[in-house]
């Protein structure tokens, strides 16, 4: 049961987006997220929608995977929508009891909800088309300039990728501990929330102990394989821009220009 949890929800298939350099995708996601806040008009939404739909088409990832990420925030969506619809002053649309829904409120609510949905889908396109290790590589390389401020970029990227490697290992371990505790009569299913939370303690303590032991083993193994930080390190597959990456940057620039133009004109 616990093994069904997937993190870094990569969808393995072959598409232009999958082959793009992770740095392009990181930059693209950033630009898209920012662009969503640069306009207010209906035309702006058309441009953003066209861009998003064409990216989904290019990614060859089934659409239902895109919407999976929305499930988690469905309450936030409903809540924001309702609050905005009710609390925005303006021309009256419907009125009952003490509550008035205004035309401006509905408009604002619809746009805001749409904006959040686009945000989530936009960033899940990136995680769906990029392997976790590629993503950390991209982060390491594109944030390399932070080293001037003594931020250990390589170390952070290394920690991220080790964390990703160890997720399945630790999940399996958790499963094992739960079974071992259940075999000795531990009860995780009954009682109220507080009791169930308390029942988690005998799982967490051994999990932490074993995680620390693993971390120590891994550190020794890494040292034995000559790991000494990011200095003088090479890569088996160094990130290198291909022609398609430059084209992608141009497309991105075109999109950004269009959005800014729309924001100014309308």
């Amino acid at each position: 049961m616990i093994r069904d949890i997937t993190l870094g929800q990569y969808y393995p298939t072959d598409s232009v987006l999958h082959r793009l350099d992770p740095r392009v995708k990181l930059c693209g996601t950033m630009v898209y997220v920012i662009s969503l806040f640069l306009f207010q008009s209906f035309t702006g939404y058309i441009v953003a929608t066209v861009f998003l739909v064409s990216m989904i088409a290019l990614s060859h990832v089934p659409v239902k995977f895109m919407f999976r990420g929305l499930k988690a925030i469905i309450f936030i969506l409903i809540f924001t929508g309702i609050l905005n619809a009710f609390l925005t002053p303006g021309r009256e649309l419907v009125s009952f009891w003490k509550i008035t829904i205004t035309i401006e409120g509905v408009r604002l609510a619809a746009f805001l909800v749409l904006r959040i949905i686009y945000l989530i889908i936009g960033s899940s396109i990136m995680t769906l088309t990029t392997t976790p290790s590629n993503l950390t590589d991209g982060l390491e390389k594109s944030l390399g300039w932070l080293k001037i401020f003594r931020i250990p970029v390589h170390e952070i990227a290394m920690m991220m990728s080790i964390a990703l490697t160890f997720i399945p290992v630790l999940v399996e371990e958790t499963d094992r501990i739960i079974k071992a505790q259940q075999a000795r009569g531990a009860d995780f299913e009954s009682g109220n929330i507080i009791r169930r939370a308390k029942a988690m303690i005998p799982i967490l303590v051994p999990l932490f102990v074993s995680a620390f032991r693993r971390a120590n083993d891994l550190a020794v193994a890494m040292e034995a394989r000559c790991y000494h930080g990011g200095d003088g390190r090479t890569k088996m597959r160094p990130l290198k821009y291909a022609a398609r990456d430059y084209i992608a940057y141009l497309v991105l620039l075109g999109y950004l220009a269009a959005i800014i133009a729309v924001g100014i004109i309308f």
Partner: protein, 281 residues
């Protein structure tokens, strides 16, 4: 010239009580002399707590001796300037295959060591391919390590060390957590490396069957070397082995018991085949 030379090596752990006060010292390795030549296949045997893993960690400068010196290729392991040369020359494979995987896919994991020592990308790809072919894991190069069996993981770990092009590989109980099939996969790979590539192997184990193939066996007890010799010599000294809390390999044990029962069986039998031949005379 000897590849690894240990001269009167001792290592002490500091024992601390609950409050972190020094309680005393524990001598894990006690006055050990070793001399290992290029191309040797060495097995180090010993019960738990006999200091064999501690000794192994001296060979690639993970630990430094409290007394005595360890030389690798003539370099003192305490020499900080030679640290990376030493670790490159002597690779190490550990007991738990899960805790030494760094990459999210097999290929990346094997590439980890050459990336660390700054090998060119082209050459890394070449080395990764060669290493994976040597341990017969090339067709799994794109798999996630979590999907592999224990024996396969351990072979990937060996490939990860091979990619450094070491002169010697120290394997610290590499088969202790594996099933019989995984165990024989790993031992087969290790023997092939010794035979074909002439890589020095130091195999630390408490499985007697694995030690049969070694050129020389060291038996450790309470931190010092209690016995030393070829497998035939060692396994004909059943009494002394028992004192070290070690049992004979299956075939050798059977031969020993049969001889004690009065059958005419020569000494120094190690494998099942040899025993069969003698019994079927």
């Amino acid at each position: 010239m000897s590849l690894i030379n240990a001269n009167k090596v001792s290592f002490e752990y500091v024992r601390r009580d609950k409050n972190g006060e020094v309680e005393g010292f524990k001598r894990a390795v006690d006055d050990v002399d070793l001399d290992i030549r290029q191309g040797d296949f060495i097995a180090v045997l010993g019960p738990n707590g006999s200091g064999k893993s501690t000794l192994a960690k001296h060979f690639n400068s993970l630990l430094h001796p409290t007394e005595g010196v360890v030389y690798i290729d003539g370099w003192d392991t305490k020499d900080a300037d030679k640290l990376w040369d030493i670790r490159k020359a002597v690779g190490m494979v550990f007991q738990n295959p899960e805790n030494q995987m760094i990459g999210t896919i097999v290929e990346e994991d094997v590439a980890f060591a050459p990336e660390n020592i700054g090998v060119e990308p082209e050459e890394i790809r070449q080395r990764v391919k060669e290493s994976l072919v040597m341990v017969e894991m090339y067709d799994k190069r794109k798999s996630s390590p979590s999907r592999l069996s224990g024996g396969q993981k351990q072979r990937v770990a060996i490939a990860g060390v091979l990619a450094m092009h070491p002169e010697c590989i120290v394997l610290d109980e590499p088969t202790a957590m594996l099933d019989p099939e995984g165990r024989s996969e790993v031992i087969r790979a290790v023997r092939a490396l010794n035979d074909v590539e002439n890589i020095t192997i130091i195999l630390i184990t408490h499985n007697m069957e694995e030690a049969i193939y070694a050129d020389c066996i060291y038996v450790m007890k309470d931190g010092h070397i209690a016995m030393q010799g070829t497998p035939r010599e060692i396994f004909s000294r059943a009494k002394e082995l028992e004192e070290c809390r070690l049992a004979l390999p299956q075939a050798a044990r059977l031969a020993y018991e049969l001889r004690r029962a009065g059958l005419d069986i020569p000494e120094g039998i190690l494998t099942r085949e040899e025993l069969c031949r003698v019994l079927c005379r």
